[in-house]
């Protein structure tokens, strides 16, 4: 089973994971395509320091516990948390508990989220975000 970590302290806000996520899930013609990661501004006023970080899903499963329709589930092979849009009723309960705030909703209000790049993992590759990260801020461990 995979355990995904994101270290906000190590993240330098280079946006590589943010863009890698878009590139993995969309074709180049999709100009408006979004990332399953998000950009968050972190400010330390006293230190006069500010940076961006790009948090993504850590597959903790908190969203599964609150989903009334079973649209969010943990797949068995790698333990990744996936969204089944067909089942989603758009109640947004998942959004309220997501510690990383990375569940988004499509035009019909259905939940969409990081799929852990499961198709890449099946091919023996690392998830797109992890593969580009130059600082070690995104880590994946077997648990």
């Amino acid at each position: 089973m995979m355990k995904v970590r994101f270290d906000r302290n190590t993240c330098t806000g280079c946006f590589a994971c943010y863009v890698a996520c878009i590139a993995e899930h969309h074709g180049p013609e999709e100009a408006d395509a979004g990332s399953f990661r998000r950009v968050e501004k972190v400010t330390d006023l006293a230190a006069g320091f500010q940076k961006n970080v790009c948090p993504g899903c850590i597959h903790c499963g908190k969203c599964i516990n609150v989903c009334p329709s079973g649209a969010l589930y943990r797949e068995e092979t790698y333990g990744l948390v996936l969204a089944d849009k067909e089942k989603c009723t758009g109640c947004r309960a998942c959004e309220s508990v997501c510690p990383m705030q990375v569940i988004r909703f499509d035009e019909d209000g259905k939940a969409e989220k990081c799929d852990g790049c499961i198709s890449r993992i099946k091919e023996g590759r690392k998830p797109a975000c992890k593969s580009v990260c130059c600082t070690g801020a995104i880590r994946m461990e077997e648990r």
Partner: protein, 686 residues
């Protein structure tokens, strides 16, 4: 879905040329990963590189040779054949040479840079001294500052052996993202890191000591560090006595910059200046990580950088293990880059204005004032420009250059994209991306890499060098190296290394050259420095040649831009800094990639919240920025990482280019580099 192929190639979105594993399905580029187990690369990538598909398949790609059919600048073009295009170029360039002389044609290379030597060969054989590149506003001034002191090419830091690293204005996490791991490894090894940067960047955040100076005051800071090092007797007496020219005058001059005085100029607390000086001079070996442009994008940039570079000699950290070294790793020779000399039998553009540029030769002319030279026909008429990757947004007042380009008799540009500089051309030619061509690359450590073609060229795009070869053929210009075709050319590059093209192709992971020379130290003990005095010239005899005519000083004197700019700072109370790196941009090239351009608002005007309150501009509000040279509007973004009083805008946006705010004559008198990073402005609510 077809089979997936993984092909070794390289990214050329920026100049770093990171090695890439490209995933190709049914002839399409579908995915990229950073190459692993490659020196300086640990498999990661940056935001720009990983958006490769949107670069390769961008709707703004130029696909066919296109000839202007409307008025100049109107943007109306018609497709023609390559044959017609080649004939049109040959006819026009020969005509200009016949009527105005060869110097009337300027040969220009923007991005990418890999075919510069081939273009230089073309210019030489045509007989024009005017081979120019985008280095007229990027990096070359840093090289000039270095060469004026040490007489050779810039020596990088020996990171493997250094104990203290002085990073002078490089936010490498964002400008050289793939080296992030190497930077972190230094910290883990216990290397002390001093970072000099006007902003509290992520790179500065990870340093042991951050000197947050006012942009453009680098010289005063470096001279002050020297003052401490000399006063506290922390300098290397042996090296200075034996190898440094001008030390006594320098020692005397730096006395003007005790830390308390430097604090007033630079904004860096005196105590921090002392600590930095003691650490750099006392915890050796120490090395300096240089940056391409931030220090020389000031009107006192060359002298400021000379003051910084002088610290290396002062502390004896030149060409020693862990210092700045001529050859920190193994080395294998190659042809072309740095080997082709520019034809200098005629006066080049920029030569009268910036003579030291030519005395410390970088084998290219200085074209920062290209627009003036075209419009004023001074020093002589410029009637044609043959360029590849022309990007007017690399210049201050880019619109001025665009207008000048329209005045030419003949202007042809080869590019991958329909840039604004292409739409004013008479003829536009489609260039291959790095994914569409083959290239032999020389790498650090005596290594060579063959960058494969991974997809077929889009439309009728061609490799830049093959275009140059064919144009020369049509003009009857036979260069002994270029005439033999592209494969022979790649073999020629490799020849001194002892490798053949065939064996390099058979080793996709790259190969070390067979003629491999070991790392070197203290090369100065075997041969003198290549300067007029044969020593390290803290006092430059080359610069002193132009004391009377151009006012250059041999010593790395500090002149404060706020005093010499001649701008009314009551009217323009804020310092304007354009082009400091953002991780998602590279000049103007990637604004056309929505995955990157959409990350943040652009153009983004980064201001300190205190200034926001002072001028009534809220975070996210629309703001007008006005300088003595122009104005633009953008989105204000509060950023506490910079100091109050300084405005930061990334340049090159088609929606408001910050470089339009920089005066065209606001230049460093030695290098001709624009003062992009310390001009003046005010802000207004919109």
């Amino acid at each position: 879905m077809g089979e997936t192929k993984i092909v070794k190639t390289s990214c050329a979105v920026c100049g770093a040329c990171c090695e890439i594993d490209a995933y190709v399905e049914d002839g399409k580029l579908v995915s990229v990963e950073g190459a692993k187990n490659t020196p300086m690369q640990e498999g990661g990538m940056c935001a720009k590189g990983v958006a490769a598909a949107q670069f390769e398949y961008n709707p703004e790609r130029i696909l066919y040779p296109m000839k202007r059919i409307g008025e100049k600048g109107e943007g109306k073009f018609a497709r023609i054949s390559w044959d017609e295009a080649y004939d049109m170029i040959a006819e026009n360039l020969l005509k200009v040479r016949r009527e105005y002389g060869p110097e009337a044609t300027v040969f220009y290379v923007g991005y990418p840079k890999w075919f510069r030597p081939a273009m230089l060969r073309f210019a030489n054989l045509y007989g024009s001294p005017n081979f120019c590149t985008e280095s007229s506003t990027c990096f070359q001034a840093a090289a000039l500052a270095w060469k004026s002191i040490y007489g050779n090419r810039i020596c990088g830091p020996d990171l493997n052996n250094t104990k203290t690293l002085l990073i002078w204005s490089s936010n490498l996490y964002h400008s050289k993202t793939t080296t992030s791991g190497s930077y972190q490894a230094l910290k883990k090894r216990g290397v002390k890191i001093i970072d000099v940067d006007p902003r509290h960047t992520v790179t500065a955040h990870d340093a042991d000591l951050h000197l947050q100076l006012i942009p453009g005051t680098d010289g005063a800071l470096a001279l002050s560090m020297a003052q401490v090092i000399i006063e506290e007797d922390l300098y290397d007496h042996d090296f200075v006595e034996n190898y440094v020219f001008g030390f006594e005058e320098y020692r005397e001059y730096v006395q003007k910059f005790p830390p308390e005085k430097a604090e007033k100029i630079t904004g860096v607390p005196a105590d921090k200046i002392r600590r930095a000086a003691r650490l750099y001079a006392g915890n050796g070996p120490a090395s300096l990580m240089f940056s391409a442009s931030p220090i020389v994008h000031h009107i006192s940039g060359v002298q400021n950088y000379r003051a910084v570079f002088s610290l290396i000699a002062l502390t004896g950290n030149y060409d020693v293990e862990g210092g700045n070294r001529t050859q920190p790793g193994p080395f294998s020779p190659a042809n072309e880059f740095g080997k082709v000399k520019r034809y200098d039998g005629k006066e080049a553009i920029g030569q009268k204005d910036f003579p030291a540029w030519f005395d410390l030769p970088c084998q290219e002319a200085q074209c920062t004032r290209l627009a003036d030279y075209i419009l004023e026909e001074d020093p002589y008429p410029i009637k044609a420009v043959f360029s590849a990757g022309m990007n007017h947004r690399m210049w201050p007042k880019p619109g001025h250059l665009l207008e000048a380009l329209k005045k030419l008799d003949f202007y042809v540009n080869t590019d991958m994209f329909w840039s604004d500089a292409s739409t004013v051309a008479d003829l536009v030619l489609p260039a291959c991306t790095s994914y569409e061509r083959e290239e032999v690359q020389t790498k650090p450590g005596g290594r060579f890499f063959f960058s494969n073609r991974v997809v077929e060229p889009l439309g009728e795009a061609k490799n830049d060098i093959e275009i140059i070869m064919e144009v020369m053929k049509r003009m009857g210009l036979e260069d002994e190296v270029l005439a033999k075709g592209y494969d022979a050319y790649m073999q020629y590059i490799l020849e001194p290394s002892g490798l053949t093209l065939e064996e390099l192709k058979a080793h996709p992971e790259g190969m070390k050259g067979k003629n491999l020379y070991p790392p070197a130290v203290k090369t100065y003990e075997r041969e003198p420095f290549h300067t007029p005095s044969g020593k390290v010239e803290i006092r430059s005899l080359v610069l002193e040649r132009y004391k009377d005519t151009h006012g250059y000083s041999g010593l790395p004197v500090y002149q404060d831009f706020r005093e010499i700019a001649g701008v009314d700072q009551k009217q323009y109370p804020l310092i304007l800094n354009t082009g400091s790196r953002k991780p998602q941009f590279f000049h103007s090239r990637v604004y056309r990639m929505p995955w990157l351009a959409g990350i943040e608002a652009e153009p983004m005007v980064e201001i300190h919240p205190e200034d926001g309150k002072k001028y009534g501009i809220e975070d996210g509000a629309k703001v007008r920025v006005v300088s003595p040279a122009g104005e633009m509007t953008g989105a204000a973004a509060y950023h506490v990482g910079g100091k109050p009083g300084v405005v930061y805008i990334y340049h090159g946006s088609p929606h408001g280019d910050a470089n339009e705010l920089i005066g065209k004559d606001y230049l460093d008198p030695i290098s001709g580099f624009p003062g992009f990073k310390s001009y003046f402005c005010r802000m207004e609510r919109v």
